[in-house]
């Protein structure tokens, strides 16, 4: 069984390994500063239309949110930026964001990346770097 599974994984790795350039940082694969700004703008547009989670953002200053989120994405994707915003915990404390609402935001982010034609494997690498942040965001 182990042999079957591991040979499957190796095959998959060979198949997909050549799909993108490993030399580039994730920041560059996402289109750099412009790419991230487009994704975040798309995300803001999605949130504006969303009945489930819009209420969390009703009092948010959009321009400030945009700048900080682009910077934050830039830093976690190894881009040349500095994040000057508050910590994830400080921002979200008291908001009582649920598991379901968090996943809703992930869905909207995926939609925003789709609209920018970000390839599936690149999307996943950004998501993977957001995964550990969830515990600093929900139910606090």
């Amino acid at each position: 069984m182990i042999k079957r599974i591991s040979s499957f994984i190796v095959m998959a790795a060979l198949l997909f390994g050549c799909a993108h350039n490993q030399q580039q940082t994730l920041f560059e694969q996402l289109g750099g500063q412009d790419g991230l700004t487009n994704i975040v703008n798309g995300l803001i547009k999605q949130i504006g239309k969303d009945k489930q989670i819009f209420h969390y953002f009703a009092d948010t200053r959009i321009s400030r949110f945009r700048t900080h989120l682009v910077d934050h994405f830039c830093v976690i994707t190894d881009g040349p930026c500095e994040y000057a915003g508050d910590t994830m915990t400080d921002i979200h404390t008291g908001m009582k964001i649920t598991e379901s609402d968090f996943n809703r935001l992930v869905d909207l982010l995926i939609t925003a990346m789709e609209l920018q034609n970000i390839p599936h494997p690149v999307q996943n690498q950004l998501l993977a770097r957001l995964v550990p942040l969830r515990s600093q965001i929900i139910y606090i």
Partner: protein, 287 residues
């Protein structure tokens, strides 16, 4: 006969309780989409959330810890000399407990007969989240199985016409792990004495329950499409060279309402008929 009617009334009570819960929670059921697409898995042949053959650690449906979800499923496996149909439903309460009911109908061409089995399952999430926790998600489950008619099981020297499997399952989705593609795996240890899922009864001459290992691995080619493999170790209590089972599957989840799974099965020898291969098709609807 008395036993059988007792069992039937238990099933009726469970069904009634199930319907009541469905109606009570129906307003919340409409909103059970708190998980990421395709992460609950599909329905395995004994009714639990899982792959096709193996129960996984995930609980059925899209309920988050604040939601309730219900699903219905139907599956068919057609191999050279046999056909198995399995249909049922699952209920997920707050992503903590899963209850499932399944009815299996096993067509044996050689005997021109159908063996029917009913399964009640329960699963509790002990730790973690498939995507977000650093360690794998772990669940403990049971499947109580009862044959409607144990003539075939008896003829093959099986000890009992009903039995309970216990299993511990660990699952994890590694986001972007394989060249940016999501990798899923699951390992299940099952304590069982079921012969061919229980369709040929439970236990055998001098045989006791033992642990069997089951595993799955899959790669998500997109949010909606996963391809993978499964393996399920099985006991040989009846000395009929009962084989382990394996499959290669494709699961398509176009949205959070439905999933369709197709698989190529290698079921080896069943009740003395060798080299049983064939197709598996399964449909789950999520509410």
């Amino acid at each position: 006969m008395l036993l059988l009617s007792g069992w039937n009334s238990i099933i009726k009570i469970i069904k009634l309780a199930y319907l009541t819960i469905l109606i009570l929670f129906s307003s919340q059921l409409m909103a059970a989409d708190g998980k990421l697409i395709a992460t609950p898995g599909v329905s395995q042949v004994e009714g639990s959330a899982g792959g096709g053959l193996v129960p996984w650690a995930q609980l059925a449906g899209y309920a988050s810890q604040d939601e309730v979800a219900a699903n219905v499923f139907c599956s068919q496996a057609k191999v050279d000399d046999f056909r198995l149909r399995s249909c049922g439903a699952q209920l997920n309460l707050y992503d903590r407990v899963e209850f499932s009911l399944a009815h299996q109908s096993f067509r044996v061409d050689a005997l021109d007969t159908d063996i029917e089995q009913r399964i009640f399952g329960a699963k509790a999430r002990l730790y973690g989240d498939l995507v977000y926790s650093s360690w794998p998600m772990v669940s403990l489950g049971m499947q109580y199985k009862h044959l409607d008619d144990n003539d075939v099981a008896k003829a093959l020297n099986a000890k009992d016409s009903s039995g309970t499997d216990w299993y511990l399952a660990a699952s994890k989705l590694h986001v972007g792990a394989v060249a940016g593609y999501n990798l899923f795996w699951n390992i299940t240890a099952r304590y069982t004495d079921a012969n061919e899922l229980g369709l040929l009864g439970f236990g055998g001459p001098g045989e006791n329950k033992e642990v069997q290992w089951e595993g799955s691995a899959a790669i998500f080619l997109s949010r909606e499409l996963a391809v993978g493999v499964e393996y399920r170790q099985k006991p040989d209590n009846l000395n009929l060279d009962e084989d382990d089972w394996a499959d290669i599957f494709v699961a398509w989840t176009p949205n959070k309402d439905i999933s369709i799974t197709a698989a190529w099965l290698d079921l080896g020898s069943i009740a003395g008929s060798d080299d049983q291969h064939g197709l598996y098709l399964s449909l789950t609807g999520y509410f």
